[in-house]
């Protein structure tokens, strides 16, 4: 699902470019007439809802956003995004046949034809899976491409018929909300109402069947009925959305709003509500933009709006968004760096048997093999977190009691872990340092206690150095000092 989104993005962008250039080509003579005021007028016409065509387009967009968002959230959590994609392409031959029925745009005939074609597509997928060794994704791909190709051939043939070019079947490819009529919107309302009512009434059955089919069946629910009900509602929702979004992109209206909602919440009912809201919003935006200029297709703009919503969710979602994740990683790595600096200060102090309390930046730079400037920055960072005091002029760093405790605790974690690896896991002493470098930052209080007990409160690490004990850590300064002299403020 998450992989699909970028691919869809580029497809949508391509289609928009295609649409824009198509418009320029077809109406080159008129393009100069389309002044700013014309767009402004159209916008006012849209928002005033005076025009019945506008009302139908807006209503249609709301209805399709609702039903696609609703079914889409179940499709996404059931990992059936590809099924939705296939189904939405497989209906095209049915649409064409529905047109041929009486050479006009009869919503009911098209609905029946499209649903029948979709059903045929699903049966084809099942049949391929049962009779060959091919897996579901391949069978879905086969059905998608094959049925869509048949549909395109039929549509092209019909457009060559004398009455075909006026029939409006070409609108079914990329969608045209403005072409919706009263009969279309009525059918959309019936199907949307049916979907919303069914999912609302049987929400708990759909939830348990989607989360854990085995458990659902074992507690007496019919998982099959739930599955096929969802599939039928999905087929219906796709078919009623065709005219406004178009065959090519209707699956995006199922997947994209639901994917955005999935990133924003951890509860299914909220995901369903968000998904419907996103569906409605992107539907309306698409209908509005395509209304601004004649012959702009609706579908790509709806999907573009939905993809924008997804992009915002992807970047800014409170728990799963990349901004939050990036921030978490950054603060994590800065903490690790601070702890490493503290550790080096401890090492320097240890090197002179804790005789002096201050550490100069030059000493630390030599120890860490870094430049004095880098050490100065790290010292400033320690000061900002009240782990050390640092005088810029004499360049001496003193640990605060808290800084001392943290430094000793990290050294202790490191040496305990090294000892544990060499003693308990029997890893050679020269192999353990690298591992301990990482582990020291993540060991919790409880694990450290366990390690101590396991190692019988050992005093020395595998390299013969002292492991700082709890008393030393809490005293707030080096082990060889008699009294806790604390630290010297350098202000």
């Amino acid at each position: 699902m998450r992989l699909l989104a970028p691919a869809r993005w580029s497809m949508v962008l391509g289609l928009c470019l295609f649409a824009a250039f198509g418009v320029v080509d077809a109406h080159a003579a008129r393009i100069g007439d389309l002044s700013e005021t014309r767009i402004w007028e159209q916008a006012i016409r849209f928002f005033s809802l005076r025009d019945p065509a506008v009302r139908y387009a807006a209503l249609g967009a709301i209805l399709l956003g609702t039903s696609c968002g609703l079914l889409g959230s179940f499709i996404v959590v059931r990992k059936m995004a590809l099924v939705g994609d296939t189904l939405s392409h497989a209906v095209l031959p049915g649409v064409a046949v529905g047109f041929l029925w009486n050479m006009s745009k009869d919503p009911i005939a098209i609905f029946i034809g499209a649903v029948a074609a979709g059903l045929l597509g699903v049966l084809f997928v099942n049949w391929i899976q049962q009779t060959t060794r091919l897996k579901e994704d391949t069978a879905l791909g086969l059905a998608l491409a094959g049925f869509f190709a048949v549909g395109i051939c039929l549509v092209t043939m019909m457009q060559r018929l004398p009455t075909g070019s006026k029939s409006g079947i070409d609108k079914f490819l990329f969608g045209q909300a403005a072409a919706l009529g009263a009969a279309d919107v009525k059918l959309m309302a019936v199907v949307t109402l049916l979907s919303v009512a069914t999912i609302f009434l049987f929400y708990k059955e759909f939830l348990v069947a989607s989360f854990d089919p085995g458990f659902a069946k074992a507690s007496g629910h019919s998982v099959k009925v739930a599955h096929y009900t969802l599939m039928w509602l999905l087929a219906f929702s796709i078919v009623i959305s065709l005219q406004a979004v178009g065959v090519v992109l209707v699956s995006a209206m199922l997947i994209t709003p639901a994917a955005a909602a999935y990133l924003l919440t951890d509860r299914m009912h909220r995901m369903v509500l968000y998904s419907m809201a996103f569906g409605i919003a992107s539907g309306l935006v698409g209908a509005f933009i395509s209304f601004l200029r004649p012959n702009l297709p609706t579908g790509p703009f709806m999907v573009l709006a939905a993809s924008l919503i997804f992009a915002v969710a992807f970047v800014a979602a409170p728990r799963h968004g990349i901004v939050v994740r990036w921030w978490r990683q950054r603060s994590q790595s800065r903490r690790v760096q601070r702890e490493n600096t503290l550790k080096s200060i401890y090492h320097v102090l240890e090197g002179r048997s804790f005789q002096q309390e201050g550490v100069t930046v030059e000493e630390l730079a030599a120890r860490r093999r870094e430049t004095v400037e880098e050490i100065r920055q790290q010292a400033a960072d320690l000061r900002a977190h009240e782990l050390a005091t640092f005088d810029k002029h004499d360049g001496v760093i003193y640990l605060t009691p808290e800084g001392w405790q943290r430094a000793a605790a990290i050294v202790r974690n490191h040496r305990l872990w090294e000892l544990y690896l060499t003693n308990a896991a029997q890893i050679a002493p020269d192999h353990v340092h690298e591992d301990a470098e990482k582990i020291e930052h993540v060991l919790g209080e409880e694990v450290v206690r366990q390690l101590e007990r396991k190692l019988a409160f050992a005093k020395e690490d595998p390299h013969g150095r002292l492991i700082p004990d709890v008393a030393t850590i809490q005293r707030g300064s080096g082990p060889r000092r008699e009294a806790p002299s604390g630290y010297r403020r350098s202000e």
Partner: protein, 263 residues
């Protein structure tokens, strides 16, 4: 009418009765002619090597996979009627833990089997779910999304869901797989408690040494029932050798041959 109902009192029927059950996956038999009558109030371990059909036996008993022959009765009832008194703990890997539900949502699903179509869980159901969470020490995590739990915690959520089912017969598919020692002993304690209340619990188990201590009865399984009886009688070198040893390779070979011919 009244008399006939009394003679069919469910408490008299054994919790689980399986007769001549054969199960095949893609025409390849995995269980052959299983006969089993499980007495009430026992804690029973199902043990056997990989591919012995331990999970398959549970799933077939629950009707999750069809048997090619034979029948299963739960408290004397077959089909969906029998399932009303059954609790189930599936393998932890069987679900997507990224699914947008929290711990409480999952445990409440244990109540769904008792609710009618369209009926929502009420305050009583919530109370039962809370108590179940309390029993497995997971109440503080009730509002946690299930992905943010450790493996042992996830296993305890599944156990709580089964407890919320308030059943008389429990099937548990490897409840100890991948859990920490603390969770394992907590689960064993709960199983003992259930047994004290007269419930019957059947547990698929992998670890032979602990099997001896945990269970009253053992079902040794390797595509057929090798032995079923009290642990002290069944946990013998000969029977375990029969279960895990190479004696049954013929059965496996024949199964493969059946599959090839069927395909």
């Amino acid at each position: 009418m009244v008399e006939s109902r009394i003679t069919k009192l469910p408490s008299q029927a054994p919790p689980l009765e399986i007769h001549d059950l054969t199960v095949a996956y893609h025409k390849k038999p995995v269980l052959w002619g299983i006969d089993l009558v499980v007495p009430p109030g026992k804690l029973i371990g199902i043990i056997g090597p990989n591919g012995a059909g331990k999970s398959t036996l549970i799933k077939a008993a629950l009707g999750l996979i069809p048997g090619s022959s034979g029948w299963v009765k739960i408290f004397g009832e077959s089909g969906r009627k029998g399932l009303k008194r059954v609790g189930y703990v599936p393998q932890r890997e069987s679900v997507d833990w990224d699914f947008p539900v929290n711990v409480m949502d999952v445990v409440l699903m244990g109540r769904y089997g008792r609710l009618r179509l369209m009926q929502r869980p009420n305050a009583h159901d919530r109370e039962v779910a809370k108590r179940a969470l309390e029993m497995v020490h997971m109440l503080p995590f009730a509002n946690r999304q299930i992905a943010n739990l450790s493996g042992g915690q996830q296993q305890r959520v599944f156990l709580a869901r089964a407890l919320a089912q308030e059943s008389d017969l429990y099937f548990m598919d490897e409840p100890f797989a991948g859990v920490d020692a603390a969770t394992e002993s907590a689960i064993v304690g709960i199983l003992q408690e259930l047994k004290q209340k007269g419930k019957t619990i059947m547990v698929v188990h992998h670890d032979l040494p602990t099997a001896r201590n945990y269970f009253d009865m053992l079902l040794l399984l390797n595509m057929r029932v090798v032995a079923f009886g009290p642990t002290e009688e069944v946990f013998t070198y000969e029977l375990l050798q029969q279960t895990y040893g190479g004696r049954l390779t013929i059965l496996a070979e024949v199964a493969e041959a059946v599959r090839q011919r069927g395909a």
